[in-house]
Amino acid sequence: MTIAFFTMDISFNEYHLIFPRIIIGALIILAVALLLQKGIQLLKRKEKRPKPFRFFSENYDAKKFYATLVLLVLYPPALSLFGFLPASILFMFLITILYAGQFNKKTIIVSISNSLASSIAVWYVFGQLFDITLP
């Protein structure tokens, strides 16, 4: 692909690359512009030390956050391994009790009810009644 003044020689073999190249160019230009903008903002600031970047919010709930990530990553393989109903009931129980935040009789009953009711309802309505493909 060559570009002359207001004309572009394009060949059939390179159709798929024309637009991505333009978009990558635009991304680079915008990224540089963003960096320059940030740099100018820093220079304009009176304080010598800018505030350090904080990824997590203050007093974030590490247990719930990381456990959610782990459960989300384990759920798809569990679906393939155990099938929809067993994997979903287990996943739903664990994630409900995690979010409830307490491990007592009430939360266990709520978590079991939630996991059984929602998993079976989804399995029946989608899988059995409407014949939708389930994981």
Binding site: M8, I24, V110, N114
Partner: protein
Amino acid sequence: MLAFEIITPFTVLLCFLGVFIGIIMGAIPGMTATMAIAIFLPLTYVLEMVDSIGLLIGLYVGGISGGLVPAILLNIPGTPSSLCTTFDGYPMTQKGEGEKALKVGITASIIGGFFSLTVLYLFAPFLASVAIDFTSVDKFLIIVFALTIIASISKGSLIGGLFSGVLGIFISLIGRFPDNNEMRLMPPGLEEQLVYGFSLLPVLIGLFAVGQILQEAEEGMKPASHQKLDLKKTEKNKFSLKIFKGQYINTARSSLIGTFVGMLPGVGGSAASITAYSQTKNFSKHPERLGTGEPEGLISSESANNGLIGGALIPLLTLGIPGDSTTAILIGAFLLQGVQVGPLFISSNPDLWSGIVITLVVANIAMFILMFFSIKYFAKIVFIPKYIIFPIIVLMCVVGSYAINSGIMFDVWTLLIFGVLGYIFPKIGVQIPAFLIGFILGMEAEKYFVDSLKGSGGDLTVFFTQGPIAIVLWILILGSLVYAFIDSQKSKKNQAST
């Protein structure tokens, strides 16, 4: 008269049922009107043509309208087209005006619905002929215009908004280019899974629903302030038609934009409400208030997204081209019944055509009656405690993502990948709405760009010299960018002074 003979009480009943189920599915984050129609499509095998259309159009209207419930109460757009509803709807809820916001949205929805229905009925052949006459250059410029909206909604960071939008386009280009079947931008090892790129629905659900769940998990799943609130009849939460006073032009303009955008093949969906919202901001007396809980923004988004329903049906019924993903599924419903949609559809099936229009009237009335008078009950779907509803949302998201392409596990991974990105993006300054707009419109932009170049033999001036439509579009694009730049500078000054 013939149409009333076609529409039976059973059709009306199915239409009400479709609206009811559609509202529930639209109200559950992760479930969309598209999914609702896809799920119920197999059921139409056993129904007559008009009955099946009654059910599906009911699901369509209900699904699009139900999306405003989680958008307003949870800040999660229930459907892609309710994206802009979150901008002002959720801040209203935070201010204790949840019920008012819901009823404003419902009223705007029925106005938009009837507006587009009138346009569909009166001007379908004419409007369709205008749209079909658009060249690739015009279509490309329409998408560029839609993309400049990125700048308008980027709230004080023009370059950041544009970067996010272009990043969305970049991700949308991953996969095979249909013209020459060549692959590009493939991550190693994922060539098989990404032949058609990332599916829209898992990306959308991931960015909004899973990203939101991770954010909530980080904050410990504490009850949000609005969840402590009931939809009580307080003075400031009271709905009145007076809210619409001074909003007539906004409502009409947004309904018109929704109808027109919906009518353009491939540019339907969320682009309708985004374009309308952007123009409302441009014409507003107080643009700085939009995004802080102004009914003006809510009216704009909701009248536009229901306006697109009638608009999206125009190219579908007159050209056989779907305006959006939902109408693409509706083509399947016609095919199931052996009916060919296209230029001859209206003249060959006048009874069915009238039946569709009357079904749309019934569906809009059903939506209004069910939602306006029962909104407290529908709202309860999203008021269930977070530790109960969020696991159910994850389950539905996984099932929906898996089912959308009839059982592909990679779509579930797509959901999770974009869920994590939806959590990370706001923290590093990438704006999700802008990213998503780029992602939705990217492939179409490429198609029309390459088609334009092929047509002109590589001459780039074709984008400026194609004709009066192209010139008007360039003026709109430049106007939108100039406005966005001025707005961005104003926001910076305001931030600096506070």
